[in-house]
Symmetry: C2
Subunit: 392 residues, 2 copies
Amino acid sequence: MLRFSLLSPSSSRARAGLLTTPHGQVPTPAFMPVGTQAAVKAVTPEDLRAAGATIVLSNTYHLYLRPGVKLIEQFGGLHRFMGWDGPILTDSGGFQVFSLGHMRKLTEEGATFRSHIDGSEHRLTPELAVAYQEALGSDIAMVLDHCPAYGESPEAIAEATERTHRWAERSLKAQRRGDQALFAIVQGGWSSDLRRESARRLAGMGFPGYAIGGVSVGEPKALAYRAVEDAEPHLPKEKPRYLMGVGSPEDLVQCIARGIDLFDCALPTRVARNGSLFTRQGRVSIRNAKHRDMDAPFDASCDCYACKTFSAAYLHHLFKSDEILYHRLGTIHNLRFILRLMEESRAAILGGTFDAFARAFLDGYKSTDEETRLEQKGKWAAAREARGLQEE
Amino acid sequence: MLRFSLLSPSSSRARAGLLTTPHGQVPTPAFMPVGTQAAVKAVTPEDLRAAGATIVLSNTYHLYLRPGVKLIEQFGGLHRFMGWDGPILTDSGGFQVFSLGHMRKLTEEGATFRSHIDGSEHRLTPELAVAYQEALGSDIAMVLDHCPAYGESPEAIAEATERTHRWAERSLKAQRRGDQALFAIVQGGWSSDLRRESARRLAGMGFPGYAIGGVSVGEPKALAYRAVEDAEPHLPKEKPRYLMGVGSPEDLVQCIARGIDLFDCALPTRVARNGSLFTRQGRVSIRNAKHRDMDAPFDASCDCYACKTFSAAYLHHLFKSDEILYHRLGTIHNLRFILRLMEESRAAILGGTFDAFARAFLDGYKSTDEETRLEQKGKWAAAREARGLQEE
């Protein structure tokens, strides 16, 4: 079963902890690389370990459709199927079903949706989401929640939030396995009252961990930060808190500062494949002409395999030449950047210097500006939709 | 400089040798994985070593156009640029310029061609091909040859063969570096007389190694085997022989039996990416439904990383789900299969049992039938042309 110990001084909101799962320990704050289809795109489990990953995320929606939950169960679960023997958290599929337009019908019982692969119709209920995740054998499962799209009315958001609470109760009752922790998901949209209410209601149900959901759906960053600030004080201190779908470097630091322990996001791996690599100064495109003849690592301060082994010029050449190898190297770099940021944040928290660390990091890191960010996100969402969700 | 020692008993045509280059030794017969653009698609130098590669091939035509020979020279050569510290053979670019339709004008002086990247016009002469390869710093360079397309007239082939001989002489004179071995290329098309003549003429020039070129251009297998049989007896026994562009498992065994020491081919890596994996029984598609729930390695007798680490079902899932990771794993499997076949062939030659080994292998291995093979090759060539040569 799941254990969580807080190791940090209580004076700060930022927390350092240790999450113990049936498949090993996760020092927190932690970032979970996203392996939607039982693989983190372009890398092996060994690459993940080498980059410092301690836990990965996979997705019930995708695995249910392909290769099927039953098949993975026959293999003794997701760990063995994908060759990752460390902790795994599975998302319930709520986000995919509700926010991405494949939902066909929603009732109190659950949702009916169409497969993005072959258009076939499927049903997902809180009970089925628990059963599927128990079959997958993840260490941490997520309840099925109702995640409203960005821009829905306050009434619709209130209704989705209430439904999420009722579904959370049903999910708890549906649990059969004793070795899988089930996390609740706080909704509440952009209303502080509703966020607080949602956190309190779910906290009262005694889950072993809590996620903040309904963010990273296209809103301005300030709204996501406020949602965290609204919910956080009402979540039990001794339980892990997970902010879903958030993972740009600045957001990680900002939300560690706001008391979050766990994160996941496809952004680091997705932008890597598009040529955008993290540095302490911000995202830099490997396409830039300055890398063409750069006879030095892309980032001399980085300890990832790509930076230790190859020059920036070689990465630039691979990218320009459409060589698949670039995808792996770029992915390894961005993952290592994020995972190291988490390691350094944790050390700073434990050393009592996190505020200074965060200030220095945020001062030095030039974020992608809000307009560009939302535009990119829009483009990506459209492309994703067009490709039937195949792209993370 | 290059040294070559033959280790095998002289009773058989099949030879086992040891090629010593400035960057290390190559036990022969050897297969060279193809890294056209200074990268073997989807794998790192470490992956290549782990699969048993001892030498890789790269392509002057591609590197000249991108990132440019000058740039690689500034990096101290191709070895350092691509992070492979073992032996490298570079092809001269003749095959690309002549057989793939980008050639604009041919004179005795050389060829003018258009870049497949931006349409710009470039010139290649025997002297420039040597100079470029000396700048790249490969261990073995190839002369610029005139490689006729399949189906050209006997007259055109005779002319190309004669020109290849004159260019070979010019290439020898153009050499400046003492630490790079220059190999000649036998042409002669499908005329036994011309093949013999070409081998004899070039042998008389005293090259440190000889390639048989002009095969693998769309001809039936029997013609390629005959070209080898025609040329081989006229090449000096004590020099390495390299058959260009040949690398299906059955062709490797057939041509080792005919006295070839070195091979290169993009086929093993290309078909891997398309889902076609080698087994001792023949090529098998990872797409096959039988792999869907196969809780065992794809090939239990294979010692590659993919087979030792993952189930066939997982590889099948990755392929069906368009996961990039499949490309790396499939590539590693096919390379290991080929490289192991070379290791086993060599051991059999040294043990005096190669004939039996080859017979057993060829009896067990179901080749792709000739019609399908030529059809696939045509499709691939068309796709390649459409994509401007970017695909190997």
